[in-house]
Symmetry: C2
Subunit: 382 residues, 2 copies
């Protein structure tokens, strides 16, 4: 569909990607609206941190144009909003996105799976009544995890793969295996989503995103920066390293640092999502797109930041239970097929990120950077 005709509803518009997407789309589409339950702010406060870039208040004159709604606790209110707004496209960012937060304790794990699984399930039931709406849902490359790591086979960009089992050719759902209760919640979401598409004729795009990094997107004014987390729970690795490089704490590399993942700049995430809006899949289709543009190991990223800033690097005990030595061979052709050309290169983006972050150096909380949650608890005996 033409972007100028899109009526876009962003769920989770107060988040890192949600607010950036609003700024990116507001002058390109017909209309954008956004909902949020503001739980991300609460969770970040709860673990003792806050966004490096100051955020406007939730309510009041200077606040963002976001309606307060909750997919888990009041789905009927969200449904009413959808019926009145009549969007062409819903972008679903309303999930708890932190793996360490989900492994922190029983309550955080339950919050994560309840919010992500039950909230998304409630949304699917709303779309059952409005199957013409294209749902763009954020998945994660972390859903593929272990099953593929030990073998140099390609991670597909599809819901099904063909394998031989007991000398028979069979088609199976693309194996998923997660490494945290957060990642499991995303696996569960993906299964519910594909099932609902098949069941009710919905059309959805499941963007399995790599790790996003970046401070701002084109079209964002200096006084409307999106949230930027660098703590050990909500700070993804590149954003965290850039902030760490401004302190005297060495970059904290977990374990060997050979963990290799897909990455994408926040500007390219915005472009990818707007390409998804313009290219809705047919009815009854849950389309998988692997949304990444580059592949790096943690060590490679640490070295890039070190070259830029001269900071120190330190390997610390890996708090996670994960393979540190593995192959990583994801397919990611669909973004290019849609026309996403010349993606940003991490190496070229790091200097401008550093410039954006520097003015806020005095807000850095040193105590929130070191990992606090160990995956295995005290009973780990592997």
């Amino acid at each position: 569909m033409e972007l100028t005709k899109a009526r876009v509803l962003i769920l989770g518009m107060d988040g890192y990607l949600g607010w950036a997407l609003y700024c990116y789309l507001r002058n390109k589409v017909n209309i954008v609206n956004g909902l949020d339950n503001f739980s991300r702010r609460r969770h970040v406060h709860e673990i003792g941190s806050e966004s490096l870039f100051p955020l406007p208040a939730e309510t009041g004159q200077e606040c963002r144009p976001i309606y307060t709604h909750d997919l888990v606790y009041n789905p009927a209110k969200v449904h009413k909003f959808i019926e009145e707004f009549n969007p062409t496209t819903i972008i679903h960012f309303a999930e708890q996105p932190s793996a360490p937060f989900s492994m922190r304790n029983s309550s955080s794990a339950a919050i994560t799976q309840r919010n992500n699984v039950v909230g998304s399930l409630n949304l699917l039931w709303m779309l059952r009544e409005h199957p013409h709406i294209h749902l763009v849902k954020l998945g994660t490359m972390g859903e593929y995890s272990d099953w593929i790591y030990k073998n140099n086979v390609e991670i597909p960009e599809a819901n099904r793969i063909e394998v031989q089992y007991q000398d028979t050719d069979i088609t199976i759902p693309t194996p998923r295996w997660a490494g945290s209760f957060y990642h499991w919640s995303k696996v569960f979401d993906s299964f519910n989503l594909e099932f609902a598409c098949r069941l009710w004729g919905l059309s959805a795009t499941d963007l399995n995103q790599g790790v996003v990094y970046g401070t701002r997107i084109l079209g964002m004014a200096d006084n409307e920066l999106t949230r930027f987390d660098y703590d050990n729970y909500f700070g993804t690795v590149v954003n965290r390293f850039i902030v760490q490089s401004l302190t005297d704490i060495p970059l904290t590399v977990y374990g060997s640092g050979n963990q290799t993942r897909g990455y994408i700049n926040i500007n390219d995430t915005m472009r990818a999502i707007s390409l998804a809006i313009q290219n809705p899949p047919p009815k009854s289709t849950c389309r998988i797109v692997n949304q990444l543009t580059e592949v790096f190991s943690v060590n490679e990223i640490a070295l890039m930041v070190q070259q830029l800033t001269g900071c120190a690097i330190e390997s610390i005990d890996n708090p996670r239970l994960e393979n540190e030595e593995h192959t990583y061979n994801p397919t990611f052709n669909k973004l290019e097929e849609w026309g996403l050309s010349d993606p940003h290169k991490m190496e070229q983006m790091l200097p401008s990120m550093l410039e954006d972050v520097k003015p806020f150096s005095s807000r850095i909380l040193r105590d929130v950077i070191a990992p606090e949650t160990k995956w295995t608890g005290r009973y780990y005996a592997h």
Copy 2:
């Protein structure tokens, strides 16, 4: 472990299997305690039905010795109970078990996944503190579903299978694919459970159970029968057919009736669970056991009931989205290895079931038998 030394906690002790297990174990093990939130009674009332066999009140002099607890809304209270009781084994039946209920509407779907996924996740976090407790969890053969149906390959009794993918031998998690939001909740549970075992050194038995049938177990007095549901939401097929045969409504076969599943008599379920208690797996192990003893198509069961009672059979539109023509080739060796010999035969059990049900004929509600929930809703277009 010796059965006489087992200290058993049954979660969901007010249910069909929970109460039967209490009656079965009470004189065989050291001590049995049970918890329930009594939600099954409420859900059955909500859809306009009730247990064919009358149940004692939840509270009062004649009630069952069950403590009221809830895994989702007050996990801390359950955890305290576990710490005080110090069980050797926890039997986890505290899940919403109906597929049609989970497909009924948004609220029932959310109740199902919240209760089953978040409730079980809360339990896993408790066991993290008590990894010596053996968790016996009820799964379902329905977790395997579609991936295997179209191919005459064996459904394994294992968490992993070896396949060839892109000319490479790889090990993948046993594919699971469900046909309802209930069955998905069980898939999600299984993944969380295996992850927690690996993470925290827990030992668990995941009993992927076929459809259970039967009215009573040895050791159960006439005045303490377990609940018995025959409605279109909570009545499993054999129990429902037996009740239907006492009405003038023909047995309702969904679609072609060639859907083939594993079955097990309630007495053999009890024996299987007590064998699981006696044979705990090692630490850090999530053991999969396929718990069935016979395989039948729906038509075969309908014919057995017809031969016994002379009732009519009618094929009705299948309310579910499922393959009606498929192979079904499950492996189920572990029960026999543990010593479960001479399992009950359905054909031989049906007459005594009919005798148990007859005295309650006047309680049969004719209106609750025909299916009310269509999987695809009004937008189904396959």
